[in-house]
């Protein structure tokens, strides 16, 4: 497992996205969130982007008000993880068009859909941003098509939910 989990935490400590590729119980998950947001949010600006934590390493990078964190094994390539984080951010940016935290709050499911096109089982799936955006867009249009097909109130509601 290259990446054990991915977290998006706002500067205020609010959780915006969590994706667990290793198995953590509910209790462990909330403990991890609590501990790590404590460690990462308090780190100074000029320090390195790696935190050694419980025998693992957490690579984090701040983009505007959001901290993107990925946890890896101690022998993993931290610099590469920084690139993967950046890769994800760039895809988000392309998809939403200069993405901001609010996009990720109201469209949190989209952020997950995009992540699922980049990582599976904690491993990198695609290095081309264009391919990722295309694939997500193709699935979005499938949803749209389904909506138009039925034309009923039900699909409107579904579309609302998916918005």
């Amino acid at each position: 497992m290259m990446i054990h989990f991915v977290l998006l935490i706002s500067r205020q400590g609010k959780v915006r996205l969590t994706k667990w590729y290793s198995t953590y119980s509910k209790k462990e998950r909330s403990k991890v969130l609590r501990e790590l947001s404590g460690v990462i949010l308090t780190r100074g600006p000029r320090l390195c982007n790696f935190v050694e934590w419980r025998g693992l390493k957490v690579v984090y990078k701040r983009y505007a008000s959001l901290y993107f964190c990925m946890c890896i094994d101690p022998d993993g390539n931290e610099l590469e993880i920084l690139e993967i984080i950046h890769h994800y951010v760039e895809v988000l940016d392309r998809y939403f068009g200069s993405v901001c935290e609010l996009d990720l709050i109201y469209n949190f499911h989209k952020a997950y859909y995009i992540l699922d096109e980049i990582l599976i089982s904690g491993e990198l799936q695609e290095s081309s941003k264009r391919t990722v955006v295309r694939s997500v867009a193709a699935q979005d249009s499938l949803v749209e098509a389904a909506k138009e097909e039925t034309g009923s109130t039900i699909s409107n509601i579904i579309a609302h939910a998916a918005k």
Binding site: V15, L79, E80, E83, I84, I105, D116, I120, E123, E126
Partner: protein
């Protein structure tokens, strides 16, 4: 339609939650939404299932329980439309993990979707399977995934490849099924497929040696060619990062080559050219390039030796170290740590740079650098490196001092070229950061000092000097006090002067002054004070001119509120006054402590002794953590086993106890009986409340007095001393110690609980014997559920008056206890009146643990001391 479920849209709910100003408001909104969603679930509402699950996912992210929505995921996945399946699978991955049994129910839907005609639905199923599959699911669905590795659309092939990784990790014996399809992925052109295919091969190699051999034989050349092509590829906008084409692919190829080359000279040989090219031609001004260099260095270090390449690799790391970017410096240090195993000499060249990194402002870098320096130290460079580290110790920040101190102590111990150097360095560390030094470390120092007989004078004078300068660092004070006690005569007479020393003039009275400072200083802990008391006692025979003054200081401590000090001073003054004949034997210099035994014990059988002492929690009255004196105790234990001549033996045992001032039960040398040990512990527990004056009891006297199993005259004398000296109150008698055992077993409490449902907390007969009853009434202040006020009422059930009535209570660590003074200390006979006493208990684990308390009641009746004890376990649960 359900009237509740028509409620809000997802967006509106998120907006409402974001508008909440307090956590309570947010909880209210979430509660309302959850209630509506539950209602919709109960009605099996299909129209809103989709939206409700989306809401639940958001609520889940906020940390609220959402287990009731798990089945909804399965229903959505089982429906036919893509939109429903998409959100259903997302919910499945978010709300469930592989351990939940519900997951088993989804296997069938997954199987159907893996065979679906819509490739996007196949993609959803693969993604879910890859992220949360359990071993059973992996086994069931492996054939479908294997087939999908050859699917026409590359987007499915890459997902299937990653899914296969999960499968072979969960069920390694499926690996060989994936070997051939995986190797064909390596020939693909599509980067996604190539990246995932290379990754799959890497993981196959890790779980199956057969796969490793197969790829070694069949794929190395192809992989080297792919890497060469990608490294030489012209600019390609789709995959370009900072001027490099697809660094992710670079990195994965390098990783796979590493595994194939490791332990195989032929394979390693095939890849040297391309590795040299990547190492020398990759741009290192951007993170992406450095990420590739990092991986390349790692591969060079792991494959079979090629001298030239390794020089190249170490040089890259050297460049990393001098990079301005913290991240690069950090990984550089990390890699050097691995490189040191391969080529220590090359790493030594970067020593100065590494040492600079120890002083970095970034804690992650500091820690790495310190660890690396630690690995770099050897006999030839220990002196300059230790000097640097000690100098840095002075300016380092508090959090880092513990780490750095531990490392210096360990280095100095390991590589010390001479004893005097070791002692010098340790004194520097102790005076700079003695408070961070672990007990074993200063214990070890004492043993080294004890063995360096030609340095005794030098050491005690040096210690005296630093002690005069400051008493800030407690472990320094301890070592100094110990040495003055042992070698005080050498201090005043300048015995064994070395050429390098400045002569100092210390009078006998100066030395006594120093010990007095240590006893009286508020800041110093009990162990230190007790050690100083012993040192004084020892000096009493070395400095006859000061013996009256020493006696005075010891006598002053007879009134100490701290049991340990009080007891020792009473014992010492008895010896000083009445037992001149044995004093000189008692205070003889310690026999030389055997280093080999100590280190052997430390490394080997120590755990038994330590665990024995660490299991039993001992809170000292002043709240300092009690260090276990096991190593030294152990050591002396040996000397008594060997049955040495009488004076040494008794002195040894005695000293052992002296060193074990912290009342460590493990220091009872002969394990004479269990009861005094536990008795000590119980007393300590009881005393740890600290609000009442301690009882006149000294169970640990047993340690000294009954420890000698050999019947030698002086010892017998000591026993006599114990029996007629007034210090032993009833508590010291073995019988009462046994009583304390009972207390531990919790059999003492005969209690009953009121059954009526009257007040919030019924009153409780907490303790009742044939002679005494204690009732508890509980109350709490609103808004502070943690704290319980207890009013204890004592009633005398016997026909005799009780005088000197004293109630004591002890509680475990998670509770805090405060005792107010009792209303009286006389309890009239036959229930004609009562004593009341208020207790305040704060439960830091309120709601998780109930109250529990040990009690002890002492009083006098008919001129007889009575002691009653018990444990109260039946407090109302929610206190």
């Amino acid at each position: 339609m359900n009237p509740f479920s028509s409620g809000t849209r997802l967006r509106d709910m998120i907006r409402a939650i974001r508008a909440c100003k307090t956590a309570a408001e947010e909880r209210a909104v979430v509660r309302k939404e959850c209630a509506a969603i539950r209602a919709a679930i109960n009605e099996n509402d299909q129209d809103y299932r989709h939206r409700n699950l989306a809401k639940l996912m958001f609520i889940h992210m906020l940390g609220y329980p959402t287990h009731f929505g798990q089945m909804e995921c399965l229903k959505l996945i089982a429906s036919t439309g893509f939109p429903e399946k998409r959100i259903g699978y997302l919910g499945l991955m978010l709300l469930l993990d592989e351990r939940q049994e519900v997951l088993m129910l989804v296997t069938n839907s997954l199987k159907q979707d893996l065979n679906h005609s819509n490739q996007y639905i196949v993609g959803l199923a693969l993604c879910a399977l890859g992220n949360i599959s359990s071993a059973e699911m992996a086994r069931d669905l492996a054939p479908d995934v294997e087939r999908l590795l050859q699917f026409r659309d590359p987007n499915i092939r890459k997902k299937a490849a990653l899914c296969s990784i999960r499968i072979i990790k969960k069920v390694p014996d499926l690996a060989e099924n994936f070997m051939h399809p995986a190797s064909s992925l390596l020939k693909e052109k599509h980067h996604g497929v190539l990246i995932t295919g290379v990754q799959l091969c890497t993981d196959l190699c890790k779980v199956s040696s057969e796969a490793l051999e197969y790829f070694r034989e069949n794929c190395i050349e192809g992989l080297v060619k792919t890497l060469r092509d990608i490294a030489n590829s012209p600019y390609s906008p789709e995959y370009d990062i900072a001027g490099i084409t697809d660094p992710f692919l670079h990195i994965r190829l390098l990783k796979l080559l590493r595994i194939l080359g490791q332990g195989d000279a032929g394979a390693s040989d095939c890849m040297t050219d391309i590795l040299a090219q990547v190492a020398s031609r990759t741009e290192s001004n951007k993170n992406a390039g450095n990420a590739i260099l990092y991986e390349c260095v790692e591969t060079i270090m792991s494959i079979e030796d090629n001298g030239g390449l390794r020089v190249l690799a170490i040089n890259i790391l050297g460049r990393f170290l001098s990079n301005r970017d913290n991240n690069i410096r950090y990984v550089g240090l990390n890699m050097l740590m691995k490189a040191i195993m391969v080529d220590a000499k090359a790493v030594q060249r970067h020593r100065a740079t590494i040492l600079e990194c120890v002083k970095d402002s970034d804690a992650s870098i500091q820690k790495r650098a310190l660890e690396l320096v630690y690995l770099l130290v050897n006999e030839s460079n220990v002196k300059p490196l230790t000097k640097e580290l000690i100098e840095y110790l002075e300016v380092s920040n508090q959090e880092f001092k513990g780490d750095i101190t531990a490392k210096i102590c360990s280095l100095v111990e390991k590589f010390s070229p001479a004893k005097i150097w070791y002692i010098d360095q340790m004194l520097k560390v102790l005076s700079e950061a003695g408070n961070f030094v672990k007990d074993e470390v200063w214990h070890a120092l004492i043993i080294v000092i004890s063995n360096a007989s030609d340095l005794h004078g030098y050491t005690v004078r040096a210690l005296y000097r630093v002690f005069q300068a400051s008493t800030e660092q407690e472990s320094l004070v301890r070592v100094a006090v110990w040495c003055v006690g042992e070698y005080g005569d050498m201090l005043v007479n300048n015995v064994g002067m070395l050429d390098i020393e400045e002569p100092i003039t210390v009078t006998e009275s100066d030395a006594v002054d120093a010990m007095e400072v240590a006893i009286k200083c508020q800041r110093l802990g009990l162990t230190t004070k007790a050690m100083a008391l012993i040192a004084l006692f020892k000096l009493s025979s070395r400095f006859p001119s000061c013996s009256e003054r020493i006696k005075d200081i010891i006598v002053q401590n007879k009134r100490s509120l701290v049991l340990e000090l009080q007891q020792r001073s009473i014992e010492f003054s008895c010896i000083l006054q009445k037992h001149h004949n044995i004093r000189s034997a008692l205070v003889e210099r310690m026999p030389i402590l055997d280093e080999a035994t100590f280190t052997g014990r430390k490394a080997g059988s120590l755990p038994t002794a330590v665990s024995a002492s660490s299991i039993i929690p001992c809170n000292l009255p002043n709240g300092i953590a009690k260090p276990a004196a096991a190593p030294i105790g152990d050591l002396l234990d040996l000397s008594s086993d060997d049955a040495p001549p009488a004076p040494v033996s008794s002195g040894g045992d005695f000293l052992q106890d002296l060193l074990g001032v912290d009342l460590s039960p493990a220091s009872a040398p002969s394990g004479t009986s269990q009861s005094p040990k536990t008795g000590t512990d119980v007393l300590l527990d009881l005393l740890s409340i600290g609000t009442l004056p301690p009882v006149q009891s000294s169970s640990s006297a047993i340690d000294i007095l009954s420890s000698s199993h050999d019947n030698k005259a002086p010892v017998a004398n000591l026993n006599g001393l114990a029996s007629h000296s007034s210090l032993s109150a009833n508590a010291t008698s073995p019988a009462s110690s046994a009583g304390m055992m009972d207390l531990l077993n919790g059999t003492g409490a005969i209690t009953q609980k009121h059954e009526e449902n009257g007040p919030a907390y019924p009153s409780l007969v907490a303790y009742e014997s044939s002679t005494l009853r204690m009732t508890f009434n509980f109350s709490k202040q609103p808004g502070n559920p943690q704290t319980t006020f207890i009013q204890a009422t004592f009633t005398n059930l016997s026909p005799n008056v009780y005088n000197g009535f004293l109630f004591q209570a002890a509680v475990p660590k998670f509770l805090q206890l405060h005792l107010d003074p009792a209303s009286s200390n006389t309890l009239p006979a036959s229930g004609n009146g009562s004593i009341t006493q208020c207790l305040k208990v704060t439960n830091t684990q309120h709601g998780k643990k109930s109250l529990v308390m040990r009690i002890r009641i002492a009083y006098k009746t008919n001129d007889k001391d009575v002691l009653e004890e018990g444990q109260i376990n039946n407090f109302p649960r929610d206190l």
